[in-house]
Amino acid sequence: MKLLKSFGLALFIIGFGLFNFSFFWASYQITPDVIHTQISDKKKSELLIHESSSMLNQQFNSNFKFVDELHSAFDRVNQSQVNAFGISAQELDQLVASNSEKFSIASVDSVFKGSDETAAFKQKAFRDYGSWLDGQPTQRAQLQQVADNIRQYGIVSQFGFDRYSIKDLTYSLTKASAISPVKNNPLLYLLLTIGLCVVGALIYIFPKLQLAPGIKNNGIFFNAMKNVKWLGILTGSWLIAFYVVLYFYPEYMTNWVLLVDPVSKMLSGNEAGRFFLYGFIYTLCILVMGVRMIINYRHSKYQILRTCSVMFFQTAFAFLIPEIMIRLNQPYFDFKNIWPLDYSFFFNNRLDTLLANGGLGIFMLVWGIALIIIGVPVFVYFFGKRWYCSWVCGCGGLAETLGDPYRQLSDKSVKAWKAERWIIHSVLVFAVVMTVGVLYTYFTNNSWVLFFDSYKLREIYGAFIGAGFAGVVGTGFYPLMGNRTWCRFGCPLAAYLGIIQRFKSRFRITTNGGQCISCGNCSTYCEMGIDVRWYAQRGQNIVRSSCVGCGVCSSVCPRGVLNLEVKEEDGRFGKPILIGNNHIELVE
């Protein structure tokens, strides 16, 4: 048994090592062909070819250097376009001269003379950006500002590359320019990296079947991985780095994405994107660690069914069905993802896609909205928020499987509970405000809502909440702060589900009379940081908005004190009095 475990561990380490190695294992060579295929606008691609001539057909061994060079090529394109199309100081002088007192927008036609593209652009741009000056007293500074805005926004997006397209293109150009063994033989390397990890992990896990069914918490607080010791910190750092690269620097991980190209082509027919890679690894983590969870808790049918459920929803709903939708030329859609966790549900591009896709698109839209306004309250009323958080949700699924070894790290202090309520409800408010703004913009075409710019706001939400909180902190901090950091402190959907669970639901955790011995296993292993013992030892039921109903407190309780139950609402909260003692009166 020990030997088998070590063998599995060795395979895993080799696979994981190769995976990390493959991150760097490529050289890059950009060619005009590559540029033409990635940039459909002929003019722009020619410009980039021109400005990147120094790097063309040259082989780079480091992706850092390559990306650097590429960025400067983009900068040069933008600079030359600004030079070509920007309004010069001389032209500004002329504008001032021809508008001696009040500024008239019509004057631009006479200043920017000519029938070429440049003049036409300048005329139009000045009208677009400067019409508000019409009739105002002429001030050079204001005219200068208009010219600057044109430089900064107009020229770059029309004739050059704005920062969004630079981000996307850097990624796709890097991927297309890669020369690596992985590219030539992705399947082989997929097997040698991720494949070995999966096989190794399973071989490591399976021998646990020889242990008798029952709680398997021996040695957790002596373990270097599970107790914020060196291995946990190392793992956390790796995860954090992974998320930072995934969300903010995807151009560096193109070699990893190449690994899963064949899988993606098989499913959707398209090349893999970084989020396909992410979804692929994510699903495998849930499956492999789900097997571990099932083996560990095989004495509990509740845990077995629950784990099977998250494994199923991740594999089918989050991973396979959306890819198949794409293969069928339908919109990418995850039927189980719910706003506001799915914060981009009401973004214009997604609404447009759904509305443009006929019956099915409309169905998806209605389905998504029905889940928010009917599904959530009705299911929470009958089952508690667990129906989503620990049975269906992808974030929850990862937390309950990959994150299970870290559940004991959640902070149980009253302080943490206070912080939790402030933070999570703020995120909910933020999500609602952002979405209302986005919808306002969608219907009115006006991006300025009251005092904020809805585009800016959704960008901030995406970066700080969507990527930073849910990804980097949410998963990266598993080995440091426990497996539900995002679900507990950040998820706006959890906040919404929780409010209903707290105030209108039949779900509760029942305390079994006076049987609690205050041992603290329940609180320690509650991933949501609920001090379950506080309630149990005074004979009170546990009704907390954050409880995701994972059932682990009930599983680990050595005295059979806790039970997740759905019953009539009456008596749900229960009195804080222990039964078994006569003549005791309740004082609060």
Binding site: A212, P213, G214, I215, N217, N218, G219, I220, F221, F222, N223, H299, S300, K301, Y302, L305, S413, V414, T510, N512, G513, G514, Q515, I517, S518, C519, G520, N521, S523, T524, R533, W534, Q537, G551, S554, S555, V556, P558, R559, G560, N563, L564, E565, L578, I579, G580, N581, N582, H583, I584, E585, V587, E588
Partner: protein, 429 residues
């Protein structure tokens, strides 16, 4: 405002303090020499096994006590002088009290075996015992446990979690058969053995032998067998921890003697928990009950009395629970290890041999007397109600499903149990 001093920060003393605080403004001081803050003794095993850190065993955050104006003194009481109402502490001088609550708990028994003071021989009760066990078991390969109670089986589980093999000497003919009926004792014995414990019945310790460093080397049993081991766990029961009360004027026998109000012979002095010995009868109950729940109940009662509502300690129907490796045990009402003359029994065991239900009732009146359940969780509240209402065994069996407390989706056995019960009833007639 009185000054109430409590000796002992275990569950009894702490419960008393919390309830006095809820009901009054008295000044409360708790003195304990074992640990600065209240922790759950029942969780000590989990600390050794790495399920918990010691901090997790503390049911209240450290600032709870200050917030509730309960003063904690971390020291030993060496002497109690009831005439002057004063206590002498080992380090921090003397303390005056108006009301004294003695909740000093128990200590492990040690009989006069030769070699009982060798290094590597110990019991398990206090936090210090746990720390000692941590040291004593370093590098140990084989351990012998003596005495077959709940703490013994916990120690076995602890040692196995550290890959130390265990020989377990039990005086009786099955594990814990001085408390459990033979059927359950056998079931648990089988389970303990399935965890590779070398469990030996009707076997007693005669002598512990040491090496030249004064460390245990082997033990010799009454049957003359010598077993090599580097650790000996002695779990032959506990007895009240009251030696500091000598010459205090407070009457003691095995424990501190108390009446139904938990009063001692000295006015304004109460005793509760593991150290208290009742001088009055409670049907079917021992005069010293050393379990968590009774300590807690006494704490609730004494608080009521001290705060002006004089209340008798009359616990409701007996209940208890434990866990033996992977099998949970609960009991409600009275199930003795031997059937009494007026009692009848029904025993159901699942084919896996790891779950069972044992029901006892009065043969004549068919009144339900008690139930033991292994591997199936049951609802305390239901049995408490049924026992108080003196329901019949037929009613209990018929409504057993209502008392089930197993998690959702677990296999249910009530039908099977009821069928078997009815079959046996027919046979009996």
């Amino acid at each position: 405002m009185k000054h109430i001093v409590i000796i002992g920060n275990g569950i009894s003393g702490i419960t008393a303090a919390r309830h006095i605080r809820k009901r009054s403004n008295h000044k409360i001081t708790i003195i304990s020499g074992e640990s600065e803050y209240f922790f759950s003794r029942t969780a000590l095993m989990y600390v050794y096994m790495g399920h918990l850190k010691f901090d997790h065993t503390k049911p209240y955050e450290n600032n709870f006590w200050k917030k509730n104006k309960i003063e904690l003194v971390f020291d030993w009481v060496d002497k109690v002088e009831s005439t002057t109402k004063s206590l002498t502490l080992r380090m921090k001088g003397t303390i005056q009290y108006d009301t004294l609550i003695i909740a000093s708990g128990a200590k492990p028994n040690r009989f006069g075996w030769p070699g009982k003071d060798l290094k590597g021989v110990q019991g398990l009760y206090h936090k210090q015992d746990l720390e000692l066990m941590e040291q004593n078991t370093k590098g140990v390969q084989h351990a012998v446990l003596v005495g077959g109670g709940l703490i013994g089986v916990e120690m076995a589980e602890m040692l196995l979690s550290r890959n130390i093999s265990v020989t377990f000497l039990v005086r009786e003919n099955a594990f814990w058969s001085n408390v459990l009926p033979l059927q359950e004792a056998n079931l648990i014995s089988r389970h303990i053995r399935s965890h590779h414990v070398d469990l030996r019945f009707e076997n007693e310790l005669k002598e512990i032998k040491g090496d030249s460093n004064g460390r245990v080397q082997s033990i010799v049993t009454k049957s003359g067998e010598e077993i090599a081991c580097q650790f000996v766990g002695v779990t032959v029961g506990v007895s009240p921890n009251i030696s500091f009360l000598k010459d205090s004027g407070i009457a003691t026998a095995r424990g501190v003697l108390v009446n139904e109000f938990l009063e001692t012979n000295v006015p304004d002095v109460y005793a509760l928990g593991d150290c208290a010995e009742r001088t009055y009868e409670l049907p079917g109950r021992r005069s010293i009950e050393q379990v968590w729940y009774t300590g807690r109940m006494m704490g609730e009662i004494v608080a009521q009395t001290i705060c002006g509502t004089k209340t008798k300690y009359e616990p409701g129907p007996w209940f208890n629970s434990a866990k033996f490796f992977d099998i949970e045990y609960q009991t409600y009402g009275q199930v003795g290890n031997e059937l009494k003359a007026h009692e009848s029994e029904f025993y159901w065991e699942h084919s896996s041999g790891t779950k069972c239900v044992h029901v006892i009732w009065n043969t004549m009146t068919r009144e339900f007397i008690g139930i033991n359940t292994f591997g199936i969780r049951m609802r305390h509240e239901k049995f408490d109600t049924w026992l108080r209402a003196k329901k019949s065994v037929d009613f209990v069996i018929e409504h057993l499903a209502e008392a089930n407390f197993d998690p959702e989706f677990f296999t249910r056995y009530e039908k099977e149990i009821m069928l078997q019960f009815n079959e046996k009833a027919v046979l009996a007639h």
